[in-house]
């Protein structure tokens, strides 16, 4: 049992922290709030991270990675999340990248991984559909074989950043309708392919991370199929579980906590009672932020040791994402209570960011496996309770 980082790990953690602190000020990064200007900065930052080799940190060097350990990867993810994930296209770096490493042919790896590792190519995830959310095996978008191509018809939704990415990975039905998860294939297609139409969907917080993507006779060469035909489910599940430690939630939670601490240190309290009440809530949340970090580190350590992490990763996801929700809820009470609402007020930008976070965090709790689905997984895979009747 040892909670210390090695000298090398600690040096790396500091290097990342210093780089991000220098790169992310004075601009306040916001993962979700990407207007045209921020989008350019986001892209520029991706190239900087790519140049450092950090986007594919734990990937083999031949694909643009640095072959560093999972522990270092989690330290990087934690710091990036703390700064709002500047330059991080998660669909590329955390989802399709690892999927390509695990399931891709040499040609596919050579074609796609360098673009992801360098920060040049952004991706979007084409899994959910209007009729297939938590029940992902209900996917109805069809891919029909025509010679050495597939022709895709259908509709994907919650395809975050599809309006800003170059490629999309699509889970499509190649088997018959009743085949459920045994009839799905995993296809890669550029978003500018003929027949693709992208419609952004506005989030209640005012930004447009969500999209709907319509496929109308979109042609995808067989060479862009990841894994075997009708074996897309295994690739999709691998995509969702790899490198999932929950550290992005603990890093982001720590950021909200630090923001609130800075705010509390600067304001004039109206009374000691007010101060003590808030301090008590923050103290409990500080405990939880530390716990979220330990849980994520534990998952990472288990992954490195080759253990089954399904139960622990789900616990870390539920705890970390819901903790963000608790922090953001406290932030809403606190910051708007003292901050003048004038746009030029001292706390206006903090309040605006926390307000967006408060609304965005509900998406984090739902995305990548909702808390409800995660609790099912904890119960059935972690605790070995019998599967619930369907």
């Amino acid at each position: 049992m040892n909670y210390e980082l090695t000298v090398e790990q600690e040096q790396f953690r500091q290097e990342v922290g210093e780089f991000l602190a220098a790169s992310c000020t004075p601009h306040e990064w916001d993962y979700w709030d990407l207007g045209p200007e921020e989008q350019l900065e986001h892209r520029a930052m991706a190239l900087k991270l790519g140049a450092k080799g950090w986007l594919g940190l734990s990937w083999p060097t031949q694909y643009g990675g640095l072959s560093r350990s999972r522990i270092e990867a989690v330290l990087l993810q934690e710091q990036l999340a703390y700064y709002g994930n500047p330059g991080v296209n998660r669909a590329a770096v955390s989802l399709i990248g690892p999927a390509l490493l695990n399931f891709g042919s040499e040609a596919q790896k050579a074609q796609h991984l360098p673009g992801i590792a360098s920060g040049r190519t952004f991706w979007s995830q084409g899994f959910s559909e209007p009729g297939a959310g938590s029940d992902l095996a209900a996917v109805s978008t069809r891919a029909v074989r025509e010679g050495s191509d597939y022709i895709i018809n259908g509709q994907k939704i919650w395809t975050s950043f599809a309006n800003k990415a170059e490629w999309i990975f699509v889970l499509a039905r190649t088997g018959d309708t009743a085949s459920r998860h045994k009839g799905l294939s995993y296809l890669l297609t550029p978003l500018d392919a003929p027949g693709i139409r992208v419609r952004p969907i506005r989030h209640m917080a005012g930004f447009q991370p969500f999209c709907e993507v319509f496929f109308d006779d979109v042609r995808v060469p067989e060479a862009q199929r990841l894994g075997a035909e009708n074996a897309g489910w295994a690739v999709a599940m691998g995509t969702l579980s790899d490198e999932r430690s929950g550290v992005e939630y603990s890093g982001a939670s720590r950021r909200i906590l630090h923001d609130l601490q800075a705010y509390c240190a600067a304001i004039r309290w109206r009374s000691q009672r007010e101060h003590d009440g808030v301090a008590n809530r923050l103290a409990r949340l500080a405990v939880e932020v530390e716990a979220a970090r330990l849980m994520a580190y534990r998952v990472t350590w288990m992954q490195a040791a080759g253990e089954d992490v399904s139960g622990h990763a789900a616990m870390s996801k539920v705890f970390g994402s819901e903790l963000m929700g608790r922090l953001a809820a406290v932030a809403m009470q606190l910051v708007s209570s003292h901050a003048p609402l004038a746009p030029a007020g001292r706390w206006a930008s903090l309040e605006a960011r926390l307000r967006r976070e408060y609304m965005a965090v509900l998406g984090r709790i739902t995305a990548a496996g909702s808390s409800e689905i995660m609790r099912n997984i904890i119960a059935t895979r972690g605790l070995r309770l019998p599967a619930s009747p369907r």
């Binding site: 049992m1 500080a286 716990a291 350590w301 904890i378």
Partner: protein, 384 residues
């Protein structure tokens, strides 16, 4: 970063679990708790002979030369077995004596504590731990007044666990008052080691349903020698705070062990109990409660072991110890409530083992400070 236990730590855990399953099965725990009865004869001597009491003490005093992590493993297994007794007081008291510069060399007593040849009870509280950290020092009202031959104790302590069996009482007393020049309330506290059989000390048994024997101990003008002082006069607070940190970590560990066993019992029930023709454990309403119990316990585990690991490395940083007890106290409340709910009416009865854990944890949640006290202790640092 390494979350694994060493081979020695795994063996210690396995040995503890096997031993308690054999020597202190649920039926024994039930007898002890429901009748407020004594432990099985010879059990505590066996625990001592196995070296567990002194596992966190240096080899020079006959200890196992391990860190608090090993003591936490033992405490976790004791919590799982519902074992009452003086384990926490022994570890905390012996470590305090070891760290304090005392007028007398206490090495042989510490060795006796490690070997189980002597017993000690920590006498700090005067009517439960307070809810705010700054009230710990002010809640100490027992006075120790300096005289020519030593000190005269006047006041009382309660609850003191297993005071009737204690060869020694380690107590916190007020030796100065603000008008005598002490700068702060905590600067008025001194610690004393008093023989349990000192004439005049009175014990009164308190009602207890947790399995722990609790007493109110009264000191009606008791004269003790000058060399009963532990550490410097008026300088007892830092030692006491350090002891309280360790008490918090060890009581969190006992809660952790208890909650883990409660989850196991509950999962077994959820798998076996059938309603509507299927196990209730296949229903999401039950599954999600169990998932939340598992999360509560996983968090308690990570915070408690981190705190034990930090104990020797960053002794002045109280965060980890208070974090562990703050979380574990609240988590145990939720875990035990869910366990009772999932067991239905049966969970409310003495016949169901869950009820034994319910009462045991209710006491453990308060000992060495509850969630509110530890949240308050952290609050002082969270906003600067």
């Amino acid at each position: 970063m390494d979350f694994s236990e060493t081979l020695e730590q795994r063996l210690l855990r396995d040995n503890c679990r096997t031993f308690f399953m054999r020597r202190y099965p649920a039926a024994e725990a039930r007898r002890v708790q429901l009748a407020n009865d004594a432990l099985p004869s010879g059990l505590w001597d066996e625990v001592a002979a196995l070296g567990w009491l002194g596992c966190a003490l240096p080899e020079a005093v006959g200890g196992g030369d391990c860190t608090l992590v090993e003591a936490v493993i033992v405490a976790e297994e004791m919590g799982r077995a519902l074992l009452p007794g003086a384990f926490i007081d022994t570890v905390v008291g012996a470590k305090l004596l070891l760290e304090a510069a005392a007028p007398l060399d206490r090495t042989s007593l510490i060795a006796d504590l490690a070997a189980g040849a002597a017993t000690i009870a920590m006498a700090i509280e005067e009517g439960q731990w307070p809810l705010a950290a700054e009230d710990i020092a002010t809640s100490i009202g027992l006075r120790a007044i300096r005289t020519g031959e030593g000190f005269v104790l006047d006041g009382s302590k309660s609850p003191v666990l297993h005071a009737d069996k204690a060869d020694w009482l380690l107590l916190a007393a007020r030796t100065a008052s603000a008008d005598a020049g002490a700068a702060t309330v905590s600067g008025e506290i001194s610690l004393f080691l008093v023989a349990g059989d000192t004439p005049g000390i009175r014990h009164e048994a308190l009602p207890s349903d947790s399995g722990e024997k609790a007493f109110a101990v009264t000191f009606p003008g008791i004269t003790i020698p000058a060399d009963a002082l532990i550490g410097e006069l008026h300088q007892g607070w830092p030692l006491l705070a350090r002891a309280a940190q360790r008490g918090a970590i060890l009581s969190a560990a006992m809660l952790l062990g208890a909650c883990e066993r409660v989850l196991e019992i509950t999962l077994e029930h959820a798998r076996n109990r059938k309603q509507f023709g299927k196990p209730i454990g296949s229903l999401q309403a039950i599954q999600h409660r169990c998932a939340d119990m598992a999360i509560d316990i996983a968090v308690a585990r990570d915070l408690t072991y981190k705190a034990a690991w930090s104990d020797a490395r960053t002794p002045d940083d109280r965060f980890d110890a208070s974090a562990a007890k703050c979380w574990s106290s609240d988590a145990a409340e939720r875990v035990l409530n869910s366990a009772v709910r999932i067991h239905g009416a049966m969970g409310l009865t003495d016949e169901c083992d869950v009820s034994l854990y319910f009462r045991h944890c209710l006491a453990l949640r308060r000992s060495w400070g509850g969630a509110d006290l530890h949240a308050d202790a952290l609050a002082a640092a969270v906003i600067r």
